[in-house]
């Protein structure tokens, strides 16, 4: 276990690449929130009607 850990430690990105990992993670999270926002919260009627049962089933505020 400790061997694999030290092997991984050697592969650990340097500071700049860690920042890159953080930035990419934040980007993915923003994309995720955007998707949930559109499906669950958009006031556009067509989107509301298509996702109607999901909004109710997820207890997102609806109507």
């Amino acid at each position: 276990m400790s061997q694999s850990q030290s092997a991984q430690a050697q592969h650990l990105p340097v500071a700049t690449r860690q920042v890159g990992r953080l930035a990419q993670s934040l980007m993915a999270m923003t994309l995720g929130l955007f998707i949930v926002g559109v499906v669950g919260f958009s006031h556009i009627d067509v989107i509301h009607n298509a996702a109607h049962d999901v909004r109710h089933s997820n207890a997102f505020p609806c109507h």
Partner: protein, 245 residues
């Protein structure tokens, strides 16, 4: 493989599987209750229109048009369920992207992959943040039950989600007494302010049906988040393994 690509691949796979499973679960849990409530909703609309004088019907129709009552909606049956499945899958992928973002930051910091069990814990945190906390103030509602203006509820819902996630974060990651106290206060705050609600609610939908719906939504959501947490962590660990880094 870049971190972003690993996150997206892992989230799409986990979100797709969980979305399909939850769609099946909803067909037995929440959807029959929604359909039953819609019978009451439509009956109430019918009664309202029949009892209104012609002038009022015109105004009513016009108002409905303004809100897009004529807008497209899927036909009941297969088409409706297909869109429900699509929306469930998208919701699954969206929340999986959010979870994976945390997994990626965590595993980047520790150098260890997130286990399915730790993923399950994150999923349960998601259940607390996105279902339990907002559901305390704004219980899951059936169609045909009047509620406060939509935007005010959406704002309160978002506030509850942000406060609960920040509160849980303080409690879990700070590990100091002042942070824990601040966390608990943060979680309580939106509920002390109070969710927007109508002073007088009149509905034909039986309260027993509404109660069943609260239970069905909460249980379905528990299944959704447990599966999403564990599956997302497992698929992210696969795509983010050192060999492919």
């Amino acid at each position: 493989m870049s971190t972003f690509r690993s996150i997206v691949f892992a989230s799409v796979i986990a979100g797709f599987i969980v979305g399909l499973i939850v769609t099946a679960v909803q067909q037995f849990g929440t959807v029959p209750l929604i359909l039953r409530a819609e019978v009451y909703e439509k009956a109430a609309e019918h009664k309202h229109e029949a009892s209104a004088p012609p002038q009022a019907i015109l105004v009513h129709d016009h108002a409905d048009n303004a809100h897009g009552a004529e807008a497209w909606e899927p036909k009941d049956g297969w088409e409706r369920n297909l869109y429900t499945a699509g929306a469930n899958i998208l919701t699954g992928i969206g929340f999986a992207l959010l979870l994976c973002g945390f997994f990626s930051v965590r595993s980047g910091a520790t150098g260890e992959a997130i286990s399915w069990h730790e993923g399950l814990m994150w999923g349960l945190a998601g259940f607390a943040v996105f279902t339990l906390a907002p559901g305390l103030g704004l219980p899951p509602e059936l169609p045909g039950v009047p509620a406060a203006p939509l935007l005010s509820r959406q704002i309160w819902w978002t506030t509850a989600v942000l406060a609960t996630s920040a509160g849980l974060g303080l409690i879990v990651f700070r590990r100091s007494a002042p942070a824990a106290i601040a966390g608990v206060v943060l979680i309580m705050l939106p509920h002390l302010i109070g969710a927007p609600e109508l002073e007088h609610v009149e509905t034909n939908v039986p309260s027993s049906l509404s109660h069943q719906f609260v239970v069905a939504v909460t249980l379905t959501s528990l299944v959704f988040w447990s599966l999403l947490g564990s599956l997302t962590s497992a698929s992210f660990a696969y795509f983010d393994r050192p060999a492919s880094a």
